[in-house]
Amino acid sequence: MSQDARIVRALMRRALNEILRVPGGAIPGVLAPTIFMLGLSSVFSAAARLRGYHADFRTFVVPVGFLQGAGFAGAATGVNLARDIEQGWFDRLLLAPAPRGVLLTGIVASASLRALLPATMLLTVALVLGVHSPGAAGLVLAAGLVMTIAAAAACWGVTVALRFRTQQAAPLMQIGSFVAVLFTTAYAPHRLLSGWLQAVSDVNPVTYVLEGVRQGFVGSVSWGHTWPAMLSAAGLLAFFATFAIRGMRRTGAQ
């Protein structure tokens, strides 16, 4: 294993250790998507009586929970980085003989892995409650999309953490993914959305990611829904990674 890979692995292990050693900070993020799914489906279940939903409301919103979990994992990564900056640990990390890109990769990759925890919790609870299984192909696709979105959200979190250098910026880290996931077909099929939300969801790349994750739950996996989802997720990661890389470079130059 190369030196860079060892550094990435060490940073990932450190981030994952925090989940076990600081459970007070990690458990809410793991449980939140499940709670959100249960809450939404309990509160708005009657909405599925409207024409246009091709599934019960719980099945319809499970994929929303997947992407929210990815967003929370990314934000948590940003918050943890802000804490490391506040406490001086990140400055010591920057002094280490490791390229900035490798440090960023380790931090972001930990978010991708971390996002599988809330997704697993959510999927287990959803299946127990009778949500339709998406099948092996649907699951693999969902996992890949969730990990990519978590990485994109982590890049945003890292960018904000490096800019504000305080944990008080946590809401800014969370709001990005929160908005991106909800201004889609999250709550209702496209034809039931009001006009302005239809327009926003049409240009929001996360809509295509959401539909890509959702397809297995409400029907079958098709290439027609899969390629726009993969392309959108990759595009989002590339976009936010650009800002995170720039932030790391500037931090090193200060």
């Binding site: 900070g25 993020g29 959100f36 946590a170 969370q174 201004f183 009001s194």
Partner: protein, 255 residues
């Protein structure tokens, strides 16, 4: 005592406004949630059992206010936790002021902020076509219930901060805000909630706080929901303030 509370309250409020990037999420999150709910679920007002309303925006305004006030509580907790982490809290404890003023000063700022949060949502609602059925008196009632409830939520945040002593744990409470909201009638009429949430909502004070603020918006002021809302908000505030003062005393004993 009063001077210390006012001075600390003014300081807390000034700090909040000097960092708009941290203030904005208190209104931004619920405003966005409000937009998404209304944009995605506006047709649910046609469902049998939905109360007569001018539009789904009118119904959702109280939910957004309640959510914003809860986030304000989390924010107050984070601010106290950061003061503990940074050592400022210890300097306050060492200063010649009543120690309970440290908690009450923060809560005074939270109450003032709560009034502004409620006004924000009323303004946003009116701009986007909502109607306040009870007019100006109704607005005052909504602000009153919001201020009392906001103080209570702030006290819960302060209590958690004094117990946890670190900001990341208090920050972790953020998703739980949605839990308590989801098991209430804040977002949807109680009769249309799925079981068992409909039953839990009956015992959740947030249901009464949200319904109390909603009543003047969707109808003329009715005694029952408004008084229930005030009582629920007052009850939460009294219990939470008592618990936060107890947490302060525990912390001071352990220091």
């Amino acid at each position: 005592m009063t001077r210390a509370v006012v001075a600390l309250g003014r300081r807390a409020l000034r700090n909040t406004f000097r960092r708009p990037q941290f203030l904005a999420p208190l209104v931004a999150f619920p405003s966005l949630f409000l937009a998404v709910n209304v944009g995605g679920l506006h047709r649910t007002t046609t469902l049998p059992g939905f109360p007569a309303v001018h539009g789904f925006l009118d119904f959702q305004l109280a939910a957004a206010m309640t959510q914003s006030l809860l986030l304000g509580g989390v924010s107050s907790g984070i601010a106290i936790a950061l003061e503990i982490e940074g050592g400022f809290f210890d300097r306050l404890v060492a200063s010649p002021i009543p120690r309970v003023a440290i908690v009450l000063g923060r809560l005074a700022a939270t109450a003032a902020l709560a009034c502004l949060q409620v006004v924000w949502f009323i303004a946003v609602g009116l701009i986007f076509g909502a109607h306040i059925a009870a007019g100006a008196p109704g607005v005052l009632v909504v602000i009153l219930i919001g201020a009392v409830a906001g103080t209570g939520f702030g006290a819960i945040g302060v209590m958690l901060a004094l117990r946890a002593r670190n900001a990341s744990t208090v920050q972790g409470i953020f998703p739980l805000v949605f839990v308590v909201l989801f098991v209430s009638s804040a977002f949807f009429p109680r009769d249309l909630l799925a079981s068992p949430v409909d039953a839990i909502a009956r015992y959740n004070p947030l249901s009464y706080i949200a319904d109390g603020m909603r009543d003047p918006i969707i109808s003329s002021i009715s005694a029952a929901p408004v008084l229930e809302g005030l009582a629920a908000a007052g009850g939460v505030a009294l219990v939470a303030i008592a618990l936060s003062v107890a947490a302060l005393r525990t912390r001071l004993r352990e220091a």
